[in-house]
């Protein structure tokens, strides 16, 4: 079982994840159409790149945009959740050792145990806050479907099981197996579900940045769009 999950399934899930997301990212851009979208994407590369970079950068860090400043709590919760969710899987020592066994690659940036713990907890706490927010706030509740909770669950399950394994709560190997399975489910599901926002967030922000910069006033106002 362990062999199967960390061997065959590891390769399958990792390949689906990377290839799938890569394909989605590329298809997003090949699927754009300057005439239908009414944006001269290719005619003004300087403005296009400027608008795209600004639109991604400003939203990638907390409090740089009006929204991030105004919605203090969701900003904190959302960044706590996303930062951990992206960093931990890549830089956790245990993952690194495992990857070295597989690929022979070992990168030098390793999270120390405490940081890894804190970040993982932030993911879980962030997810709890985001869930409560969905239940409590009318403007989030009306939009939320079962699917949205399911996606949140897919994202947080590897962390919960990972933490349980880390603290050896009850049966270690149960949690380890669950962790691996949920991790792989996440990897496989990402390209096919809303989890694809992992890359499509960037795609969409690049597009809207170009849209405003090239077509909607970016060339006329002093600083382009004031996100």
């Amino acid at each position: 079982m362990y062999q199967f999950l960390t061997g065959f399934m590891f390769w399958v899930s990792v390949s689906i994840f990377f290839i799938g997301l890569f394909v989605r990212f590329i298809f997003y851009f090949t699927g754009l159409n300057w005439r239908l979208d009414r944006v001269a994407y290719k005619s003004y590369p300087f403005y296009g790149i400027k608008g795209a970079l600004k639109s991604v950068f400003k939203w990638l860090f907390p409090f740089l945009t009006r929204v991030w400043r105004k919605h203090f709590f969701i900003t904190i919760a959302s960044f706590a959740f996303h930062v951990g969710a992206v960093i931990v899987p890549f830089f956790l020592l245990a993952h690194n050792v495992f990857i070295r066994g597989k690929l022979g690659i070992f990168h030098s940036i390793i999270l120390n145990q405490l940081t890894a713990d804190i970040l993982s907890w932030l993911v879980v706490i962030g997810a709890v806050i985001l869930t409560i927010r969905r239940i409590v706030l009318p403007q989030a509740r009306i939009l939320t479907r079962g699917y949205d909770y399911f996606i949140l669950f897919l994202a947080v399950a590897p962390f919960i099981t990972g933490l349980c394994a880390r603290y050896e709560v009850g049966n270690y190997s149960f949690w380890l197996y669950s962790h691996i399975i949920f991790g792989e489910v996440f990897l496989i599901a990402a390209p096919f579900t809303k989890l694809s926002h992992l890359v499509l967030f960037f795609a969409s922000r690049i597009q809207i940045g170009m849209d405003f910069e090239i077509k909607r006033g970016g060339m006329k106002s002093k600083n382009g769009m004031a996100w």
Partner: protein, 462 residues
């Protein structure tokens, strides 16, 4: 498939049809016929398949359903934070649902979608600035307008407006002769006050070709005279065109993409015929959006620009004041608390915020200008954009929507609101009528006319 006499999938093609629609008071027959309109679900789905590309598909898919966009929408705020007014909710429950059902929706669904599309969104694009995922719900609604229009589910006034463009190349029944006659007549009226005042028609290679909003011809001809006076005072080499003089596009509000193209093509042909150095459009937001920002794409122009450089009236005013072509008598600068309504169509979607502030620095006595909060790109829609002002059945929705602008204005303490946009101007007039908050509102032209210095050569002979 059922087709009503007034309400059908067919666009307006004849003057008679237009007349019949105009005569239908409050759309009594029109909306009654709409009850029986069938949805051509195959056509709907086929159209979606050929026109929906990765941008909108992705927007609908990756929406986090976080509701952050809620407070960006003035209609959500105006309606006591009604969750059904959240941009994401509005678009997911209409366009999102149509796509999910592969176009298999019924009459009742389409009528609700129509109400949401024209009665709950002005396509102001404010939500696009506030969505972390870069989702522009306004753009999606404008796309949905096209789908609904194609199926005949469109408010009466929008159907008429689009029809006008198809027949008169103008948003109302004003012919080319009416336009020139009115312009010449009104300019004549002012000739005695401004020596040498004239309106050059169809002059080739002029520096400026001026385009207008047909409402000016029909309801505010003085505006045409003011434009002529200011161009003459600035000693501009300008002209109007006897064909293709209308800059607006109700077809854009209606989602009649074919009529959008018909209209803008007409204007571009005038540019190509007269070869002016620049085209300057009047103080109208959506006209600028239609002819200068979106129009090039309807015409398939790869660089996204009209055939000649085209600017908004405020850009010309700023330039004329900056270069001294127009000189303001400092005594006559505005000395009452004044604010400005930033039009969504040329500020958020056209980048002209700084230009209008520059104008203010010349025409308002320092200390009297107060910004609205929020302002610039972040400003709220006036409450009447996207066709909202003109649609009878959604008048109550519109009036409710005006309260956000009302409160914004009250907070500034201003007694005068500059509104260099026809839709904004109308909305602010209506909000004053509706709520009586004691303000005046104005385009720039009439204010400038009172403030500019008149060179000796143009002063009336006495």
């Amino acid at each position: 498939m059922y087709s009503g006499k007034l309400c059908s999938k067919e666009p307006v093609k004849t003057k008679e049809q237009l007349q019949a629609l105009l005569k239908d008071t409050r759309g009594k027959t029109y909306y009654k016929e709409m009850q029986n309109l069938e949805v051509d679900t195959d056509l709907l789905w086929k159209t979606i398949q050929t026109t929906l590309n990765s941008r909108i598909k992705t927007w609908l898919e990756i929406c986090s359903r976080c509701g952050i966009c809620a407070e960006s929408c003035f209609l959500y705020l105006a309606n006591d934070k009604d969750p059904t007014q959240i941009p994401s909710y509005k678009i997911q429950s209409t366009l999102g649902e149509i796509i999910k059902r592969k176009g298999d929706v019924d009459n009742a669904f389409m009528q609700t979608a129509m109400e949401t599309t024209w009665g709950k969104c002005t396509c102001c694009n404010r939500c696009a600035m506030y969505c972390p995922n870069g989702i522009d719900t306004g753009v999606m609604f404008s796309y949905l307008r096209g789908l609904l229009y194609q199926q005949g589910f469109v408010p009466l006034e929008m159907k008429i407006g689009a029809g006008m463009h198809r027949i008169y190349y103008a948003q109302m029944d004003i012919t080319d002769e009416d336009f020139i006659d009115t312009f010449e007549w009104i300019v004549e009226e002012y000739e005695k006050d401004y020596q040498g005042l004239k309106v050059p028609v169809d002059v080739k290679n002029a520096d400026i070709m001026y385009t207008v909003n047909a409402r000016e011809v029909k309801y505010y001809p003085e505006d045409l005279a003011y434009a002529a006076i200011l161009f003459n005072l600035a000693q501009e080499n300008w002209t109007v065109t006897s064909k293709g003089w209308e800059e607006t596009s109700l077809a854009m509000f209606a989602g009649d993409w074919e009529a959008c193209k018909i209209q803008v093509k007409h204007v571009y042909e005038a540019m190509e015929r007269l070869k002016p150095k620049r085209m300057i459009g009047t103080e109208c937001g959506h006209a600028h959006r239609a002819t200068v920002i979106e129009g090039p794409y309807w015409m398939g122009r790869k660089d996204g620009k009209p055939p000649v450089e085209s600017i908004h009236y405020v850009e010309w005013v700023a330039e004329a004041l900056r270069t001294g072509k127009l000189k303001i008598n400092p005594e006559k600068r505005i000395k009452t608390p004044v604010t400005i309504q930033d039009s969504c169509n040329y500020v958020r979607n056209g980048g002209l915020k700084d230009i209008t502030r520059e104008i203010i620095s010349y025409i308002v006595e320092p200390g009297y200008f107060v910004e609205m909060e929020p302002c610039g790109e972040n400003n709220f829609c006036c409450g009447g954009g996207g066709g909202f002002n003109g649609i009878g059945i959604y008048r109550n929705h519109r009036n409710k929507g005006l309260t956000v602008k009302r409160d914004q204005i009250i907070k500034t303490g201003a007694k005068l609101v500059l509104a260099p946009c026809h839709n904004c101007w109308d909305a602010i007039r209506d909000l004053e009528e509706e709520f009586k908050i004691g303000i005046k509102w104005s385009f720039l032209k009439p204010l400038l006319i009172d403030m500019v210095e008149i060179p000796e050569s143009m002063k009336p002979a006495s």
